[in-house]
């Protein structure tokens, strides 16, 4: 049983004859004896389609997805609704099973879609140029630091502590290779102090901050950007795409780059991936951008068309001098983002942001009424907020889950001293009744 292949014995014989060898074995004559496996691979026996479906359905049933539990878990990946049109477009075989659009005459579909995606990201962020996607919301942060290093010739990057811990970890993992030093600016009661950023930004290549930050709090983003700009460091905002119907675009308050995790906009949670990271910049950085970029041009007949462009930045041409090593990116997921943002439109995006904010505000109020203090009092938030559960948040999560509610993320995992803080995310998929249930399981 050989799945997915068409070879018959007759074909095989005819092909061997044409090649002029007696056996398939002979085709491998260049492989030295000493490096051959010489036995069968020790893998479990082959399964039929029906059996693999049964096997994976069994594994899937061991998981507790959103839907089997009332979930308020966020912390970077969110349970937003993904409309049916997204899934159906992404299952079109011509798009799903294509490679990178190297041959534009056969790839106008994907190329135009990426051009439209780049436009959507620029519109959201107020930037001039977007790449075709990065791996996720963490790696685009490392990419942004690399852009900043080369643009400024400086070797220090400043990252706010209120930025997603995984983003900070990835930046720190990449930093030694980039010969970059990473300096963190602590948060003060859930937000970042622009004066501290101003001090840290001296001689820095960039200042990277998340807004809304990891705690869900709105940062004084324009002031953070100004602090960076005063020191001639690039301001890099890590933003939630779904916040940008209600929050100002980073390009309008002095940021050089805007980056983020795209999952919330059109991708399923899928245990952490695949998703897309977006990276957009002001036009002056266009030739330092990492990754694919699609541009508009004309064909021989004078008709409009799209191609991969500015390729002299890229590894296949510049090799060791490239702006990045990225090749395979996350185009299909970014396409999901485009379909989703087109479904929402500007009005839907704003309404969605307002809905999430109102629900989150309602949850905050109801929890407070039940005696649970906000961790960071008096701070404006978007769709996520931290609340003090009066004991170790991990314990609170365990008890709530025993009652069918996943109440959020224990901030103490990343922030020592915040052991009683629970990070609660409220998307449009939650209802006021769901929030009543959350309050019920958290109140003691």
């Amino acid at each position: 049983m050989t799945p997915f292949v068409s070879l018959t014995e007759r074909d095989e014989q005819a092909m061997l004859d044409a090649i002029g060898v007696a056996s398939v074995e002979e085709l491998f004559r260049d492989v030295p004896e000493g490096v051959r496996l010489g036995r069968e691979l020790a893998l479990p026996p082959a399964l039929s389609e029906q059996e693999i479906v049964a096997h994976l359905e069994e594994l899937a049933a061991l998981n507790v997805p959103t839907g089997r539990e009332l979930s308020f878990l966020g912390a970077g990946i969110y349970d937003h609704y993904v409309p049916a049109v997204v899934d159906s477009v992404l299952q079109r075989g011509e798009l799903l099973t294509a490679y990178t659009p190297y041959q534009p005459e056969l790839s106008q579909g994907v190329l135009q879609a990426i051009f439209e995606y780049q436009t959507a990201i620029c519109e959201l962020t107020g930037m001039d140029v977007s790449n075709a996607s990065g791996y996720d919301g963490t790696t685009v942060a490392a990419d942004a630091c690399y852009v900043a290093k080369h643009a400024t010739g400086r070797s220090k990057v400043v990252v706010t502590e209120a930025t997603n811990p995984q983003v900070r970890q990835v930046v720190k993992t990449y930093a030694p290779g980039f010969a970059l030093e990473v300096v963190e600016v602590p948060h003060r009661g859930g937000v970042t102090d622009p004066e501290e950023v101003a001090a840290a930004a001296q001689d820095a290549a960039c200042v990277l901050f998340q807004h809304p930050n990891f705690f869900g709090c709105l940062e004084p983003a324009p002031e953070l950007a100004a602090a960076a700009n005063d020191a001639e460091a690039l301001a890099v905002a890590h933003v939630d795409p779904l916040s940008l119907g209600v929050l100002e675009a980073p390009g309008r308050y002095g940021c050089a780059l805007a980056i983020g995790e795209g999952q919330a906009a059109g991708n399923h949670q899928s245990f952490g991936g695949p998703h897309y990271g977006f990276l957009a910049a002001k036009s002056e950085f266009i030739r330092r951008m990492p990754g694919r970029i699609v541009g508009e041009t004309v064909d021989a007949a004078g008709e409009r068309g799209y191609v991969l462009t500015l390729q002299t930045r890229e590894q296949h041409i510049r090799r060791e001098k490239a702006t990045s090593n990225i090749t395979t990116n996350q185009t299909l997921l970014a396409l999901g983002g485009l379909v989703y943002l087109s479904w929402l439109g500007p009005q839907g995006l704003r309404e969605l942001g307002e809905t999430c904010m109102a629900l989150a505000q309602h949850a905050k109020t109801r929890l407070e009424e039940a005696g649970l203090e906000p961790t960071f009092s008096g701070k404006a938030t978007f769709k996520e907020f931290a609340v003090r559960v009066g004991r170790n948040a991990g314990d609170a999560i365990r008890d709530a889950r025993a009652r069918g509610v996943h109440p959020g993320y224990a901030l103490g995992r990343d922030y020592p001293g915040l052991d009683d803080a629970l990070l609660v995310a409220v998307t449009e998929k939650r209802t006021p009744a769901d929030i009543d249930r959350l309050v019920e399981v958290l109140a003691r």
Binding site: L41, L47, N63, G93, E94, T173, Q311, N325, Y409
Partner: protein, 499 residues
């Protein structure tokens, strides 16, 4: 075809959202959005038509033969799509507690075990998002390994053959290493004499694709391994060509210490017009302590995420990697089982069959049997008739095929790099060869057929030089510049297209 923004009508909407009777939450004035983003405004029917029309202007492996060398464009099993969409996988939050993610962790652990066996090594991290990121991660592991031995200052060099993919040297720079190039010998192997002269106590390691990007298995691989191991350096295997050797020869058996595997090539993750992919790395025991955190581990029947890894290089990507990709690749491996060897055998048979049929009409730079792919040159067509590899590629479109990779690897002028994979039937291979042979004749008889190709695509050849010069990289609405005035002489880059 219009852009979606050009179909937009102010005030038109396609979304529906639940509404609640709750007080508004206000954004502080200073942070509030000014002008709304100009996203498209369409109702759902037109939205679906737009993307359906785009799909008809695209070519995937579902459309036809796609012998894009180095990219392993094989059939992507439909069942994998159904599996990745199971709610237990698709709607699982990555921070779900371990007891609520046992199925996902088990799948990842079993995939790791399978990749470890296929690579012939000892430990696996699924975290890297693609091959390129696997490369960078692997180089970071080398640095961590040598740092612990106090040798990082001294070992600054990574050896890479001139046939290597561009990601290899790019990764070297990003990891803070320096590049030492090594030449290819007349049989298409690494030039071992040149290599010996370049490898010394300053060498951290080698990065090699084997079979190489020429589709040739390096006949001196054992000798090469000895050169590196003798000076205490490490060997990195770029797994882009693993489809040639599954169950036949394992990178670990060849002497490699670190391997990345492109799940979107060998293990059938659809490439989605550019991604997603997956680039797990598999390593020898002594590199295990440095792998990214967390690691998926098993304790009897329970699975855990191990964050307690003091020597780890850290994280290279969010969470534990692109899980949806793992579902598809795991299913693919389980459906083949130990017979994966047959998969590679058929891939190699198909490639050699094409090579046998094309070797007289095109130049063969290295006269050997090939592995899962091969490279021929159109230099004779160019010299005699002025037809380039790019012209051949464009003319293939008229015959209904996606072209091979062209202008790569760089050591072969006018390169056409052809990879059929195991999933093509003989009839398709024959039709493709017939087309390639016909094109070689056309180059002599009516070269304009090649020069003007493709003839029946939605667009003709595009002016790539103009695209780079104008750098129109987003729609500018009422300020959008005109495309130009009438027909142009489209200037294309004779640079790598594919791989």
């Amino acid at each position: 075809m219009k852009l979606i923004y050009e179909k937009s009508q102010a005030g038109r909407t396609g979304y529906t959202l639940p509404r609640h009777d709750l007080p508004r939450a206000e954004v502080p004035e200073a942070l509030r959005r000014g002008d709304p983003p100009r996203l498209p405004e369409l109702a759902e029917p037109e939205l679906v038509r737009h993307f359906t029309e785009l799909s008809t202007r695209n070519f995937g492996i579902d459309t036809g033969f796609y012998p894009l060398g180095s990219c392993t464009m094989k059939y992507n099993p439909r069942v994998n799509e159904r599996l990745a969409a199971l709610p237990g996988f698709r709607d699982l939050h990555p921070l779900q507690e371990e007891d609520g993610a046992q199925g996902a962790l088990a799948l990842m652990w079993h995939l790791q075990e399978a990749l470890i066996e296929i690579a012939g090594l000892h430990a696996c991290s699924l975290q890297p998002a693609a091959g390129s990121q696997g490369e960078l991660t692997g180089l970071m592991l080398m640095r961590a390994y040598f740092a612990e031995r106090g040798e990082d200052e001294r070992r600054r060099k990574i050896v890479i053959p001139d046939t290597a993919h561009g990601t290899n040297p790019a990764s070297v720079t990003m990891a803070g290493y320096e590049l030492t190039p090594v030449k290819t010998d007349p049989r298409g192997n690494i030039d071992v004499e040149d290599l010996r002269a370049r490898v010394d106590e300053h060498t951290a390691g080698l990065m090699l694709t084997n079979p190489s990007t020429l589709g040739l298995f390096d006949e001196h691989i054992e000798e090469i391994a000895k050169v590196f191991h003798d000076v205490g350096a490490l060997m990195y295997y770029d797994g882009a060509n693993l489809n040639a050797v599954c169950g036949i020869s394992r990178p670990g058996d060849m002497g490699f210490d670190i391997v990345h595997i492109n799940l979107h090539k060998t293990f059938s993750q659809p490439h989605g017009g550019g991604g997603p992919g997956g680039g797990p790395i598999v390593v020898r025991e002594r590199l295990e302590p440095y792998l990214p955190a967390p690691q998926v581990i098993r304790d009897v029947d329970d699975f855990f995420l191990d964050y307690d890894r003091p020597k780890s290089i850290g994280k290279v990507r969010g969470f534990t990697g692109p899980f949806g990709v793992f579902v598809r690749s795991y299913a693919f491996i389980r459906m083949w089982g130990p017979e994966l060897r047959c998969m590679s055998e058929i891939a190699v048979l198909n490639a050699n069959y094409l090579l046998a049929r094309l070797r007289d009409a095109y130049d063969l730079p290295y006269d050997r049997l090939c592995m899962h792919e091969f490279v021929v040159s159109a230099r004779r067509l160019k010299r005699e008739h002025g037809a380039t590899a790019l012209d051949v590629a464009k003319r293939l479109m008229d015959y209904g095929f996606h072209p091979p990779t062209v202008y790569f690897p760089l050591v072969v002028p006018e390169a056409l790099m052809i990879e059929p994979t195991e999933t093509e039937p003989k009839e398709i291979l024959d039709e493709f060869c017939d087309a390639m042979l016909a094109i070689a004749r056309e180059a002599a008889d009516s070269p304009e057929l090649l020069k003007e190709a493709p003839h029946d695509r939605p667009v003709k050849r595009l002016d790539e030089v103009r695209a780079a010069k104008r750098a129109i990289v987003r729609y500018r609405f009422e300020d959008h510049p005109d495309v130009g005035d009438g027909p142009v002489e489209p200037r294309q880059l004779e640079a790598q297209k594919g791989a």
